[in-house]
Amino acid sequence: MPDDTKNLNTNLKRLSEITKWFDNQEEVDVEEGLKKVKEAVGLIKISKSRLKEIENEFEEIKKEIELDNDKQTSP
């Protein structure tokens, strides 16, 4: 896997390309299709994990912001 698999945006673009590839495939290329499936499965796994990380990070930031806000508004 290349290093840029950590980048969610890049992964999404790649996945989009793969799905389009499947949609446009006139002849079934089992070998190539299998390769694409494997690549896509890997990307999906990494992306889901990364998305989870980002969501967790977001939740942390959100908590901090809400805590600061409570301190400022309390008497």
């Binding site: 999404l12 996945l15 793969i18 799905t19 089992v30 299709g33 499936v37 896509a40 992306s47 889901k48």
Partner: protein, 419 residues
């Protein structure tokens, strides 16, 4: 005492002491007069009626004091007592005072002395000194016994006078000694004015006040002298020599009081003037203050108005600022919510995209199709998609989920798709 032996001198002293009880006034005509080298005067007095004679002595000091010349044939009154003169053993009348006898004689002496002193300028108006204003230290010579002193005290004003009295006899020739002595004493004292007083009396009884020595003492006294000696026609020479002559003690007090009384009147007048001017000034000041207060009030009102305007503006500004802060807070909150929801949407969309990709990939996975029982037929490595691609007898490679099947085409049937 009968057994006691005296020396002559002791005895004369004893007799002379006893003879002092015979102090009297005697009247007679002057006989032979003899003035000794020391100035003492030895003379005889003769009784007009029976020609009785008595030898008399008057000491030089006394003789000069009474200012009259003893001349044979002059009728005098002498006051004194008999005394034995030790040097001669003779009994003589020791005269303490002498004065002419009879009003005519006295008058004559009075007029002579008056003329002489007048010529000297003793009575000159130009020599009179004014009674100083606001005197306080006053010397008084009079008899403490008489009504004069109490009259003086009851009339003198309460102006803080410090009055000193020297009691003196004021009657007859004997008074001269007291009066001279009193004047000399006052010369040494710190006084501002001297008052010599005596009640009214006959010309003869006032003779002491015509004494030349006394008159000269009064004229030369260091501070002004007021003479208050009651008299009828002929003013005593002391009165003429004094700086101010008045007839009664109460008038003497007027002379002392007048500057004080004037001052009191002046003060009262000035007080009224001050009060009046002060009242006017006060009124003017009140008017100025009232006018100033009005100006200040107007200014104050305008300042208060300006202040209120500024205060109101400030409150509005503060409220605006507060609203801005609230809006900023709200905007921050909204932005935050937008960011949160935006991110959530983004995450959701991303998740959905991943899920879609997953579904597409899953549905397109060839392995999945093969496992479901589908197979891929290939002829010469080309996928057979319709019956036109094969002929009977062709050898096909059938790819299934777990391997490859080599098969031969036996028959070809076309499926009618319109069914």
């Amino acid at each position: 005492m009968e057994d006691e032996v005296f020396t002559i001198s002791e005895y004369i002293d004893l007799v002379n002491k006893g003879l002092e009880e015979f102090s009297v006034k005697i009247i007679g005509e002057v006989g032979k007069v003899d003035v000794g080298p020391s100035g003492h005067v030895y003379f005889s007095l003769r009784d007009e009626k029976d020609q009785s004679v008595i030898n008399c002595i008057i000491w030089a000091g006394r003789y000069k004091m009474y200012g009259m010349k003893l001349e044979e044939g002059v009728k005098i009154i002498a006051y004194g007592c008999p005394s034995i003169y030790k040097a001669s053993g003779k009994l003589s009348f020791l005269a303490e005072t002498i004065q002419p006898a009879g009003e005519g004689e006295l008058k004559k002496k009075y007029e002579e002395l008056k003329v002489r002193l007048e010529r000297e300028g003793i009575f000159a108006e130009s020599e009179k000194r004014p009674i100083p204003n606001y005197v306080q230290r006053v010397g008084v010579i009079t008899s403490k016994q008489g009504a004069v002193w109490s009259d003086f005290l009851s009339n003198v004003g309460k102006h803080g006078f410090k009055i000193k009295l020297i009691d003196s006899r004021v009657e007859g020739a004997e008074a001269i000694l007291d009066l001279l002595s009193a004047i000399k004493m006052f010369k040494k004292q710190d006084i501002e004015v001297l008052v010599i007083m005596r009640g009214g009396g006959s010309f003869e009884s006032l003779q002491a006040f015509n004494n030349e020595l006394l008159v000269r003492e009064v004229a030369g006294f260091p501070v002004p002298v007021i003479a208050a000696i009651g008299h009828d026609k002929d003013a005593p020479l002391i009165s003429l020599a004094a700086d101010r002559e008045v007839s009664t003690p109460s008038i003497a007090t007027v002379a002392l009081n007048e500057s004080w009384d004037r001052a009191a009147l002046l003060i009262e007048k000035q007080e009224r003037k001050i009060m009046s001017e002060y009242g006017q000034n006060l009124e003017d000041t009140i008017n100025i203050i009232n006018a100033s207060a009005e100006v200040v009030k107007e200014y104050s009102d305008s300042v208060m108005h300006a202040y209120e305007t500024i205060r109101h503006g400030l409150i509005v500004s503060m409220q605006n600022f507060k609203n801005q802060l609230i809006n900023i807070g709200k905007n921050i909150s909204i932005s935050r919510q937008s960011i949160f929801s935006g991110f959530r949407n983004l995450a959701l969309k991303t998740g959905q995209q991943l899920n879609n990709s997953e579904a597409v990939v899953f549905s397109n996975n060839p392995e999945r199709h093969l496992k479901l029982g589908y197979s891929i037929a290939k002829l010469n490595d080309k996928i057979v998609k319709d019956i036109d691609n094969v002929s009977i007898g062709d050898v096909l490679n059938l790819i299934v989920s777990d391997g490859e099947i080599i098969s031969e085409v036996k028959n070809i049937n076309k499926i009618n798709q319109n069914k």
